[in-house]
Symmetry: C3
Subunit: 473 residues, 3 copies
Amino acid sequence: MAAALTLHPDRALPVDQRQRAAAREIYQQTAALPLISMHGHVDAAILAENTPFADPARLLVIPDHYVTRMLVSQGVRPEALGLPRTDGRPVETDPRAIWRTFCANWRLYRATPSQYWLEHELVEVFGVEVVPSAQTADLIYDQIAARIAEPGFRPRSLLDRFHLELISTTDPATSDLRHHAHLAGQGLGERIVPTFRPDAVVHLDRPRWRTEIEALAKVSGEDVTTYHGYLAALRGRRLAFVAAGGLATDHGHYSADTTPLSDAVAGRIYQDAVAGTVSPADAQAFAAHMLHVMAGMSCEDGLVMQIHPGVLRDHHDGFFAAYGPDSGFDIPVATEFTRSLRPMLQAYGHDPRFRLILFTVDETVYSRELAPLAGAYPSVRLGAPWWFLDSPEGMRRFREAAVETAGFYNTSGFVDDTRAFASIPARHDLARRVDAGFLARLVLEHRLGLDEAVETAVDLAYHLPKLAYRRLD
Amino acid sequence: MAAALTLHPDRALPVDQRQRAAAREIYQQTAALPLISMHGHVDAAILAENTPFADPARLLVIPDHYVTRMLVSQGVRPEALGLPRTDGRPVETDPRAIWRTFCANWRLYRATPSQYWLEHELVEVFGVEVVPSAQTADLIYDQIAARIAEPGFRPRSLLDRFHLELISTTDPATSDLRHHAHLAGQGLGERIVPTFRPDAVVHLDRPRWRTEIEALAKVSGEDVTTYHGYLAALRGRRLAFVAAGGLATDHGHYSADTTPLSDAVAGRIYQDAVAGTVSPADAQAFAAHMLHVMAGMSCEDGLVMQIHPGVLRDHHDGFFAAYGPDSGFDIPVATEFTRSLRPMLQAYGHDPRFRLILFTVDETVYSRELAPLAGAYPSVRLGAPWWFLDSPEGMRRFREAAVETAGFYNTSGFVDDTRAFASIPARHDLARRVDAGFLARLVLEHRLGLDEAVETAVDLAYHLPKLAYRRLD
Amino acid sequence: MAAALTLHPDRALPVDQRQRAAAREIYQQTAALPLISMHGHVDAAILAENTPFADPARLLVIPDHYVTRMLVSQGVRPEALGLPRTDGRPVETDPRAIWRTFCANWRLYRATPSQYWLEHELVEVFGVEVVPSAQTADLIYDQIAARIAEPGFRPRSLLDRFHLELISTTDPATSDLRHHAHLAGQGLGERIVPTFRPDAVVHLDRPRWRTEIEALAKVSGEDVTTYHGYLAALRGRRLAFVAAGGLATDHGHYSADTTPLSDAVAGRIYQDAVAGTVSPADAQAFAAHMLHVMAGMSCEDGLVMQIHPGVLRDHHDGFFAAYGPDSGFDIPVATEFTRSLRPMLQAYGHDPRFRLILFTVDETVYSRELAPLAGAYPSVRLGAPWWFLDSPEGMRRFREAAVETAGFYNTSGFVDDTRAFASIPARHDLARRVDAGFLARLVLEHRLGLDEAVETAVDLAYHLPKLAYRRLD
């Protein structure tokens, strides 16, 4: 008989009985709050087109690089998981076969956040009642497949089912935002907003830069063969995002460097890029410069600026060539913020129009750099644990390392970082549980009153994200 | 009705009931021990002049950059807090108004060590019985104001009230030590000692260096226009500090580099500084060199050397220009010790006359660099968690990361780092509680006997600081 | 009366009673499993010659730099501990005097893993019943001395007593492996295997390099005056190790850099070394290159590659000159893996013949670099906490930081790093207890079923090390 899959009501709450009781009391006040999801990577098309999800493998396995990389790390061939090859060579196309491989390797996810999220989804969203395994794979597959065929499980229906009050997509600077226009036409313009992500056009030495910049020219109507035309195009696109309900920009850079260049130097480097002769060092300097420029534009148009630096993308060239980006081989590096952000903060750190939210996958900077910065500059908020750190232990360490110096009110509250749409409620639920456990400890150690803890928990789950992204004042 | 402010007898002790019981038993043995406070920043004039504290805002808010930076970080204007402007433009002068702003924002301090310290001070020192808020601000203000007007609350009376057995001030190399002479005349020379801090005269490129060096010439009677005169002046001032009861020197550098220069190179750089042409790189090399030189002088005169590197001071030029140093915008950076200290430790690390105490705000070096160094070199002691890390979670992490490799007996025991005089007992109390909790865990995990834990706790609170600073052998 | 020394059955298990009960249940399933010890530094001669251990000081104090460095750090002179001087000048030769010094300073080891290991050895292996102290030193000395004189306490007898199923020695590339041949002749060839450690011949600028390279020529029969002869010699020695049962290579480098050189450049640098003119920078580049070369050879001959970088060896020249290497003055430095390993992983990271196990004494890389790498590349396994981190707190932090991203199954399971033969069971026992405690928390937090926790614990203690070193498929 297959092992039963259930969600214990006290899961992810602290072990100590008294602490758990306090945590439960705190969690109960946040469990049903609406979700604010301002850093997601759900494709706007999914919501605009509202077509049913294809099948369990395409919903839960193939697009989730947390899930596929773990299987690859244990020797499963990417083709067996249906990861599309860039050269078009054949990969597994039978979703049931992919699903079986995934279920047969369920033990690899022990103690990972993926396990927590997936269990939550399987039980809460799809009503699954057995633990995944080689034996139960087909049963679960059929159950999910049936569920996603129901009208109530289409993407937009899930918005309500998930209590999503506000969700942001992530959109390139070149996006024409037509999906958002369509959504706005359906009265969802305030609820589903775009986020402006210009990475592809500010990194001058990426192979696809020229293609991107041509798309930018087209969508903006500006002449991007000059640096000033390029800036005008960016400024224009930002305003288009604002008009479409956008609240924020998002910047994924290798380093947090924000050293500005003179107009002349920036222009010269840009011309080199147009001519195809830009050096890697110049391209890197330009990217840093553009963070500074973007901060200035944020002061003008009010978009909240998010930076999440410190990742070496596509660590294995061969894997990237075969399977493309975002396939699990982005590996963090040590990241410096104190010196790197200084030029930008010198210029805008005390500007009341500026708001900066900082994310990291280098935990060492929580107590050393980010909490001191967020605890001093009025413009800076410390984002929630990002990516690999969006986990029970990772979130606990974040609170322990950051709050004593930054306070709770200089953090952004919970911000998920989701590609897998169906995992959004699980992520928020987990964060609320971990925060309840942390706050319960403060209560039990007589460092905080229970009423203060509850108020803080509600703020972290709901009010602070809205404040951070300026949906509340 | 205002919420009652009380100090729970078990505050900051562990949650687990059995562990708490053991911690309580350990803490009871240290709670009443006298305080050794060898790294404080209380102004010697306050103790020498013994004038009453001015008002609650000037006692607890304005001079405490932990407190003011948090308010600034949430958008309170520094002027509203009475932070004096360097240009003399008006700032809030009504201490009651400042106090109200502080109390109205009390929630910002949740889970910060400032909250713990302030609660302790309010209740234990001033008898306050209500939680700070906009509503209670005036009531609390009046109560503190009345208390500090009493003769028993003058600075020197607090020495006894606080059980301060030994307190050090921090004094520039240029100090004439007249306040200490005055105190010695009152029989307090052994109890209130100066610490020699030459930062202002060893950093050749600081704007005020020339002014400082002129003061050094004046107080020492040496010709500081030459490098050798400068060294003679420093040597002389160190001896003056020794004569005034001084036990230690204190060095706040950007890096921990201790690479020595040849006499010729050091002399040439010094001449450049005198001529006003020193380069930043040379100034930095000279500062590193001077750490090496100071270690040598410590071998001669017996002063214990303290280094706390790794802070980028005055991160925001504009804020520094407007409000001066120590205003909350000093931000840590990653710091390297293993290679950096090597030249100095090669020379003096095994010298029985040498004693070095190391502080850090970069926690990553606890287990990686500082504990291995302190666990090998007989001259090295690992200082207590410093600055932002002088907090419940910070002190716990320190013990967990450092003790397994360094042992307890290669640490300095508790050393506070206090600007706010009235917070000294709170800080020691918190450290004793956190250490009791850590030791209790070792007892409950059968890694240490309760008698050993009690002995260790007493050593950490009292004997080890005296041993570290050579008040005991 | 002397304090009784006992081992509590619940030592090093969690404090919380319910968590402890679960941990006990998990630990009971692993406590009696055989030991796999694939990263030890026990001298093969000890096992081949099987002579009795000399005396308590030579068994437990003198060769254990964890133990001696702690005494040195508190001012005990190395000569008093019998540390042999390289200049042959006299040191303490009375083992009883050394033992007394050690016992009189027992409190220095409080909360260190040495304390845990030594207590375990004293009680479990030698039947000691009193806590070490100045008073009990002689009693304990006599008891251990009597015990090691018994035939059942000779080295090979301890293999059975300790349930050592598989133990590896660490052997230089120049070893003739005669001790292993002798052991194989006694039927122990599968149980005691060599590990190939070529550090002494790949670091071209070490003082002893020429001597080592001559020994390599002799043992291999190759002409090592050319780079290609040198490579042939290494390839040949690796095969000799394989023939002698070897499963792995081991590489202790200053950095994790694996940048390859062209054949021409590598050959030129090698010729410089032969000529005695190699530069430090070239020697460092060559060492990095050789990691890349060794990975390639691992693909050919199947030896598992172990790298443990990031230690500045012999921090104090004078101490090294007087007492030689491995005397407690090897100090870690911050270490970079993401960029450094990239060239090697680009070449071999997806090669099914390649297996790489990574160790670190820089904990910051667990969550940031090593877990993401191990959680992606099929060739990479994350080794157990190494050296200073092989401790209760260190092992707990490792699990908390690494498992959420890497999963359990991309770790090597427990691998000890032992010089002190008699401490091997204590180290495995401690690891099993700490893992049981960690897993028990997951069970109590409803993140893992108890049956899954037990299966995982058994895998970590027994199956994963065999899988990691390819003794199991």
